[in-house]
Subunit: 585 residues, 2 copies
């Protein structure tokens, strides 16, 4: 396998002869180059020799490459013959790369070639003529390629091939027609920032080893709290590994606030605690309750209206019921942007109830939090400023690369008291700098990945107004989809009215079912439509969209739009594709 982009400078041979005015060889060209000023000659020679030794390869997008070969050759010979300029990955191994002696040149060449593979993938991701996914069944994929791990090393040619193969089978999450998850899209500045994060390869636990990232976390969380509406952006927070963990943090802190002794004594020392969340809320609330020793039975699911919003009167009723049983309501988790319907719970009404019964109010705005960036849509989260804690995932509606999830806490210091263990080997108290920047002890994690930089850099690049424009556009697209299908033959909306978020939920009813009465048989057949269309979508690789049942509603499609690459035409394509793939069912 030759690396991508080889053959860019296509010389037939490098036999060392040739007319300088008609160079057909690297050496002839090099002789011409040596006559010019400014050091260009040597550099060009290195370039020529480096490339001439690579076999030509055709096909595919050919992004720039081989730059590394030019620059790293420091040869001053005239005429230059630069034997070191030839890179043959088949003879190189990881041990030839930095920190190996003389490792700089192969390292730069190798990393540049990896980068070229990535740039190809980036360009393809946005190309509507490419597939969203080249789908293979697990057993096929396991057999199609040797993925096994062995005792002996492989050469760098093989390593580059693995990179290409991995991306060949990857799903293009940035593709304009990928509507499958709440996190879609591929932001170029966010991507650059994530590459930088990988390169910096550090850990968030102390200022000592992540000075800039710790400060940026401070700056960014404060800004997010200002946007939530907490006075002066005061409070606390952390970037955690995903919304589920952020929600678990909220539960943990709420419990600690009410019963700090739980930290030492455990749940045995406290009364039975009850958490409340809507029946449409994310499953992580139950997962968290199971993990924290609270138990899933102690998570009461509050009824929702037909639009998926929590019904405040039911919340109050269930709180009273729990209190009557002698249990202690300790947390209400309202959802701002439910996973399936994109519904916003009525936060003001929930806040009133939480205040009345002195219960911690958490808002799971993992999905809906992005709307706070939009002057047009932020009213949907009115009341979030009254929350005690908020989960907000910039990796969803704000298009930040995975992962980037924030938990914001209104009361400062609580996270620290709740989680700190004061390990003396990490959080030495006699360091020479301000220890308030050693934020690691407020986390459940010890080592913590740097998740802030991509958000921070995107924010600098887009400005708040840029996020706003992105969000407004996605909501407009969702409205367009809704308007297009609401009266279209063969579609039934799962709930009435314009979606509040970008979730558009509907059934596609194939012609053969349209004539049936609305009875059990029809429901049973309808429930099989979405899975088949989805399977076909994946096999064709043309688009991807999610489906699920919910409550008594059989499998329906849920389109979500968070991808900045999507256009009206992509929405049209999606509709046509659903019809094309489903009309015979």
């Amino acid at each position: 396998m030759a690396s991508p982009g080889s053959g860019f400078w296509s010389f037939a041979s490098e036999d060392g002869s040739g007319d300088p005015e008609n160079p057909g060889t690297a050496r002839a060209w090099c002789q011409v180059a040596q006559r010019f000023t400014g050091g260009i000659g040597n550099k060009l020679c290195a370039l020529l020799y480096g490339d001439a030794e690579k076999p030509a390869e055709s096909g595919g997008i050919q992004p720039p490459r081989a730059a590394s070969r030019k620059a790293t050759c420091a040869c001053n010979q005239k005429p230059c013959s630069c034997p070191k300029a030839g890179i043959n990955y088949a003879f190189l191994h990881a041990t030839d790369l930095l920190p190996a002696c003389d490792g700089e040149r192969p390292t730069l060449a190798f990393l540049q070639d990896v980068m070229d593979i990535l740039l190809q993938y980036v360009v393809k991701s946005f190309d509507r003529s490419t597939k969203v996914i080249d789908f293979h069944y697990p057993n096929e994929l396991l057999q199609e390629y040797n993925w096994g791990l062995a005792d002996q090393p492989q050469n760098l040619e093989e390593i580059l091939m693995h990179c290409q193969t991995t991306l060949k089978y990857a799903i293009k999450t940035g593709h304009p027609r990928y509507f499958n998850q709440l996190s879609t899209g591929l932001d170029m500045v966010g991507l650059a920032a994530d590459w930088l994060t990988s390169t910096a390869n550090t850990n968030m636990f102390t200022y000592e080893i992540a000075p800039v990232f710790v400060l940026l976390e401070y700056v960014t969380l404060k800004k997010m709290r200002e946007i939530i509406g907490w006075p002066g952006g005061s409070g606390d927070g952390i970037f955690s590994p995903g919304g589920a963990i952020s929600n678990m943090y909220a539960m943990l802190i709420a419990r600690f606030k009410m019963f700090p002794e739980v930290k030492e004594k455990g749940m045995a020392a406290v009364p039975r605690l009850i958490a409340f969340t809507s029946e449409h809320s994310h499953f992580s609330l139950k997962k968290g309750a199971a993990a924290l020793g609270i138990g899933t039975d102690s998570v009461i699911l509050i009824k929702c209206d037909e639009r998926g919003k929590m019904i405040p009167s039911d919340l109050e009723r269930r709180i009273l019921e729990a209190k009557q049983k002698g249990f202690v309501p300790f947390l209400v988790s309202a959802t701002a942007g439910t996973t399936v319907y994109g519904a916003f719970d009525p936060l003001l009404a929930v806040a009133d109830i939480c205040k009345k019964y002195k219960v911690w109010m958490h808002v799971d705005a993992a999905w809906g939090g992005g709307l706070l960036m939009s002057r047009k849509h932020k009213w949907k989260l009115s009341g979030v400023e009254r929350a005690n804690s908020v989960t907000w995932n910039p990796h969803k509606m704000m298009g930040v690369p995975l992962q980037c999830s924030a938990l914001l806490v209104r009361e400062e210091g609580l996270m620290q008291s709740c989680n700190q263990m004061q390990a003396s080997y990490l959080f030495q108290q006699d360091k020479h700098y301000d220890l308030s920047y050693d934020t690691g002890d407020k986390a459940l994690q010890c080592g913590r990945h740097v998740d802030v930089f991509k958000l921070w850099l995107m924010w600098r690049a887009k400005g708040t107004t840029g996020f706003e424009a992105h969000i407004d556009k996605c909501l407009e697209l969702a409205e367009y989809l809704y308007n297009t299908i609401k009266n279209r033959e063969g579609y039934e909306m799962v709930f009435d009215g314009k979606p509040q978020h970008t979730n558009v939920c509907f059934w596609y009813v194939p012609p053969s079912l349209r004539v049936l009465d609305n009875n059990e048989e029809r429901m049973s057949r309808l429930s099989k439509v979405a899975p088949v269309i989805k399977a076909r979508m994946m096999e064709y690789g043309t688009t991807m969209v999610s489906y699920q049942p919910l409550g008594d509603k059989v499998n329906f499609f849920r389109v979500v739009i968070s991808n900045p690459a999507a256009t009206h035409q992509d929405i049209d394509f999606l509709i046509e594709e659903i019809e094309r793939l489903g009309q015979d069912l």
Copy 2:
């Protein structure tokens, strides 16, 4: 700000005139180039014009760049004048990048320039003449640069500048003289893999959206279980966000195994559970117990011998004691490689006790797990094959970029039963592929970052033997350090004997203290030595090493070696630097 590497082709002007045989301008050079075959002429013209329009900049390492400018210009004019080849980032914003119409060229140029900044940093990371850290106090750093977030976007020139500034203040965790944490070094293949992971930008919850990564997790975890010694590599596991979370998983699963009703009923339904771990173990055990509602009081710390190893007889005594009180011992967490001493608990003896009392045996091999890759050193983990679960962080001793932590579980299916909530919108039961590959529901997280690819690709590139060589070398270096200082004037070892891992713990005793009697005053003064030396190290930026007190031992240095870039000379340098910075104390 000009991007790095500009001025690589240094033309004085591009006035369009000039002798082709003595070109001083882009156009003149271009005219020469047009005479040659193979399409080289146009490509070279694009290169020349693109670069000629950039202001020259000097200083610093100049890695390859501008490749994007060449390739993306498709101009066929002769003579070529390629106006589009000029990229001026001051006029470009994030909105000009993909998916923008015509965004491909600026995107490739921008990402390439980011990459050049990263490549500069990579090269500098291994350069002993550069600082490990350019240290600034938090308030200084906050004031030195405008880190704030605003409504309006910044142009791409500013974004590139932020990347450079961020790296300027970053700590070079790959620097050969960075000994500060258990995770050091910067592996080039691992880095490339992490860049690829960022570019693929997906999530581990289902096969559907991460087919290759899910398979690679399966392959890699199985291999790790084989190495642990479980028959046929059977069992279960997950990559989690760090060792603390992996340990928390172990505790969670152990509890569930013994009392599955805890999932629904919470801790109220079960007797008081007791976990046991050594007094030298990682604080995450207590953190986990606090979070899981077990309580830190229920984590019993077992005495260690003078080398930091758990004393089995004390373990057995404390288990009996707990049982006598009517409590239920549910977990013993033995440590393979303690954080400070690098000690290995006697796993075989612990296994016997766990078997005798039917207690879940967890091995926290976050730090020591890497030694399983070494035929010479793996005996230190004898007995690990008898564990029920093992934490093993490849991001520590195996040099995988952060983060990469695995929890391995001996019994298959337990994680799934313990954590699953069967969210129908994610884990649809009527998908068209084998659902056993939808592994997301066994995690505590919902979205989960792809942490496996960098380990997998490094494994392919190094082979098991490559990891072995790395680990053997680091242990040899630690032994060299130990041998060098054990009898050297001014050093006292914290514990006797050759270190079992790469942790070398010692006091440096400045000349003024050497004459003092071993009394309280001396201890008090000695306790201040390491913090001052460390502060000076950071201010000079020459090297970094950790210190801490432990038990009744005042602040001592703990050198750990996991960095493949470190050499004997770097160890010598470290010793000399400690003496240089500490001799006046």
